[in-house]
Amino acid sequence: MSTVLDGAAVGSLLEQYREVAPQGTVDFLRRLARQVAGIRMLNVNSTRQGGGVAEILQRLLPLLDELEVKTRWEVVTGSEVFYKTTKSFHNALQGTKQRITAEMYEAYLECNRENAKRLNLDAEVTMIHDPQPAALIHSRPQGAKWIWRCHIDLSVPQPAVWQFLRPYVVRYDAAVFSLPRFAQRLPIPQFLVHPSIDPLSDKNRELTAEEVDRILHGLGVPRDKPIILQVSRFDRFKDPVGVVEAYRLIKKSHDCRLVLAGGTATDDPEGAEVLAEVQEAAGADPDVHLLLLPPTANLEINALQRAATVVFQKSTREGFGLTVAEAMWKGKPVIGGATGGIMVQVIPGETGYTVSSPEGAAFYTKRLLNEPDRMAAMGRQAKEYVRHRFLITRHLQDYLALIIHLCRGAQ
């Protein structure tokens, strides 16, 4: 047998994933990347810090660079009206009715024109993330391949906003969505790339038992009984009141704690209202812990997921719901609402259960609490499933495959 593992430099970032990714993945990535080595790839979004897109770019781009895809990352900037407009676009495209004036549309276009002049858009492959920079397509250099990477759910957009945006989107060479149901009917190829988690990030890296104990102690959550956990914003679609109802049903027969951990988005006026409803539902029960965590509480979330016995994501409507993969990576079975990306992550009976009611969530939780061996086996399956399907190494493979496919078509 002869094998050559070139490029496997000791101390490389990619090599750190060898122990956590599926067997052979790092070598396969290196082989795959050879087909596009030296290619220049530009990513454009609207922020360098904060939010899921910036987070994934921060982690993906150094890995692509190591694979000899020469990446650059540009960020569009704009006026207050621009940011207000794109926030309204974001909400309208995800189905929340917004009022957008002619001036706002014009401010969006003007800002894109200004950014087109300011930014260096020279690259063989450009990935434009979300609607904010979408109109930059007018400035695509000759021969370049442009991809619109849509991270949001476009399934039921406000028609006027989608009508405005669609003529820009159809000029791209391809669009990428996180789930098929997030896509719209378009005359360009649309590809499917699930989001991913980074197993080496603070939110997902291994923690020692002492670290978990210390963090839970700091959060005021004793570890004296099984913990049922849901990590999510206080948002009606995440059904936190339904989670409390499920807990009450479980509590009739099994002593346990409930931890609801999350924050309220600053741009979400409903958040405080929902939190008040959850507080009322929880009452004075000392075994219910409502934790308001800042967006930077990655280690805290990591520790809570590791300390949990069963993890809920009992959403009634969900985007991709990566908190499911995060919990599964820590070997926890997840009981999730039968919606959105949860259904891609939870294989009923194998990595957890999907449910449609508090009663369903309670029923399966009791079953798991009664059968610790089964629960442990399910947790192991869950971790393996995430290893193969939802780690950043798979995300890298998908992006490399997309670049290879588009560049091949161009030859």
């Binding site: 047998m1 002869s2 094998t3 050559v4 599926p22 067997q23 052979g24 993945t25 070598d27 396969f28 082989r31 795959l32 050879r34 087909q35 969505f177 098929p180 149901r181 896509a183 009917r185 378009l186 190829p189 649309q190 590809f191 499917l192 790339v193 039968a338 919606t339 259904m343 294989i347 009923p348 009976g349 194998e350 449609s356 399956q381 393996e384 499933y385 193969h388 399907r389 493979q397 998908d398 490399l400 495959a401 997309l402 290879i404 496919h405």
Partner: protein, 226 residues
């Protein structure tokens, strides 16, 4: 001979799938039938074979997406079971596989008064895949080398040489069996025959890998594969 060296080495290549959303979706079994009839062959292939890649170490509910969707979303366990028993390794042509699926669904619907629909509102979304292959620069000249490489190679290579080789490349016994039996390979027809049958066992990719490795071990220990 078991200990012999091949004239041509086995070259391992792995693959992955880039998934393209077709924008066709079904919310009930009648619409599912219609779209299966007109979908590109690559889409039928994706929904009946790619499950191996998506669940390389286990088998999910059923080994094809159609069976899983009707069972889970349509709550139609009878159709789920009838589709779930279909063995992709029984077909040497994706169009024959498509006809079998259509026949089963049509027969099932003809016996029902109402058409089952998705109870959760989640549609069946049609996807097709583009396979991207990469040579792993990993070669085997002897049965021992082949066994060692297979045991450690990225699982996409098992998919590439077993599933992709069969239906998309027309090498019906799969690349492993072809090389094991070939005169310029190892010339081990008995072992090749057993390896070619592994796909029919209903195993996951990891299960197939483990089974082929065991077959190699057994052949090496008995030394009687010809």
């Amino acid at each position: 001979m078991i200990g012999s060296r091949a004239k041509q080495p086995f070259r391992f290549a792995s693959c992955m799938e880039l998934r393209e959303i077709l924008g066709k979706r079904a919310l009930d079994e009648a619409r599912l039938l219609e779209i299966i009839e007109e979908a590109p062959a690559d889409s039928i292939y994706y929904h009946t074979h790619s499950c191996y890649l998506r669940h390389p170490y286990s088998q999910g509910l059923y080994p094809n997406d159609f069976a899983t969707w009707v069972a889970l979303q349509g709550q139609d366990s009878v159709l789920g079971e009838r589709l779930g028993i279909l063995d992709p390794f029984e077909f040497d042509d994706i169009e024959r596989f498509r006809v079998s699926i259509l026949t089963i669904i049509a027969d099932h619907l003809s016996r029902l008064g109402t058409v089952p629909r998705s109870t959760t509102g989640e549609p069946f979304e049609f996807v097709r895949s583009h396979v991207i292959e990469a040579d792993l620069d990993l070669q085997a000249w002897t049965l021992r080398e082949f066994r060692e490489a297979l045991a450690h190679v990225e699982v996409g290579a098992v998919y590439n040489h077993v599933c992709e080789a069969r239906l998309r490349k027309g090498r019906l016994s799969g690349d492993f069996a072809d090389w094991l039996s070939a005169e310029d390979g190892l010339g081990l027809p008995d072992l090749a025959t057993q390896v070619a049958k592994v796909g029919r066992l209903g195993l996951s990719l990891e299960g197939m890998r483990a089974r082929i490795v065991r077959l190699c071990d057994r052949a090496m220990s008995t030394g009687s594969s010809r």
